[in-house]
Symmetry: C2
Subunit: 217 residues, 2 copies
Amino acid sequence: MATRSVKVFRGLKGENDKWAAETRAFLKEKKVIMINMIGSPGCGKTSLLEAVAARTQGKLSFAVLEGDLETTRDAERMAAVQVKANQLLTGGGCHLEARLVHHGLKDLEPDGLDFVFVENVGNLVCPVQFDIGEAAKIGFLSVTEGEDKPLKYPFLFREAKVAILTKVDLLPHLDFDVEACVEFIKRINPKIGIFRLSSKTGEGMDNFMDWLFKHKK
Amino acid sequence: MATRSVKVFRGLKGENDKWAAETRAFLKEKKVIMINMIGSPGCGKTSLLEAVAARTQGKLSFAVLEGDLETTRDAERMAAVQVKANQLLTGGGCHLEARLVHHGLKDLEPDGLDFVFVENVGNLVCPVQFDIGEAAKIGFLSVTEGEDKPLKYPFLFREAKVAILTKVDLLPHLDFDVEACVEFIKRINPKIGIFRLSSKTGEGMDNFMDWLFKHKK
């Protein structure tokens, strides 16, 4: 009796992981580092990339994939500072999936770039659950959100290689306990690197640029 | 031949809507108005409820259901201002579902209350898609998030009866165009009511309290 071949149907998550693995192989071949940027809406992801673009000194090249539900505003902000960017629209979806990232990435033709930054949909929960083939996740927290947020949304900070506290220029106007926040993040993930930045005033940007220069291949 | 009875299995969404309908009937019977509060992490939902608690003048009674992934911090904040609150933990879930809300609500024994406020998980996307049996949704936007967020996350503002711009005390320190933001929100939902508030300084709180007094049954 002939053996009947087994058909495999992948669920959404298995399908996602397949695309993420393909992306990871593609990036390895191209020697490009892809960073998955995750944080709340308006936490300062795009502003940070604008600040990075102004500080590359010709020594660092990058492109951007902008994830949003609707509008192409963030890709336009990148174009305005001469950074190659594709907009990924989820059409209402709360996170980026690996397939969409894969196609957007290939279309960027990232040969020769040091980094591709992916701005995920503004959301501290769902994007963490979907691997997109990145080398590392960066978790963002605006100091306007309150120092207890890492405890309330621990999953992102557990998975991230780096946490960035943004908008530190606003600290004099807020009741935000930086030391407590850093302690909360370290409690969740003792190995995480933590940066304190203001894209507006430039505070802390030198440290972050050093980190990027150090990690480029 | 006997007719075989048809068995119905509800998917997650149908099951959710069944619980939401039961909650709505329960609230109608009890003459309690339930408000579904939706906004980003740290947009000021709990702070607003603390500010409301300080201004009831004995003329308005309410309880709170606090939705979070982890921790009981927000319910503790409510208890500290003598407001009855139950904590609803999603265990990693990105939104509240109607079943959990239903059980948390019944346990509150809301007889005689004017309002039950439900603080959904901090997220501009997923909570909008799940009816929890509320009378109305309030959409929150902190002015620290940037005036373009209603365009990038339109679904919440399309469904909400009221939008609240929070943390307006920070406006002098931000590049936030209030008029543009109001225009963006009205473009998505011309009928929406818009409040501008600071729970910290109390600015705009009188208007919001008037709205609550006007809508209680």
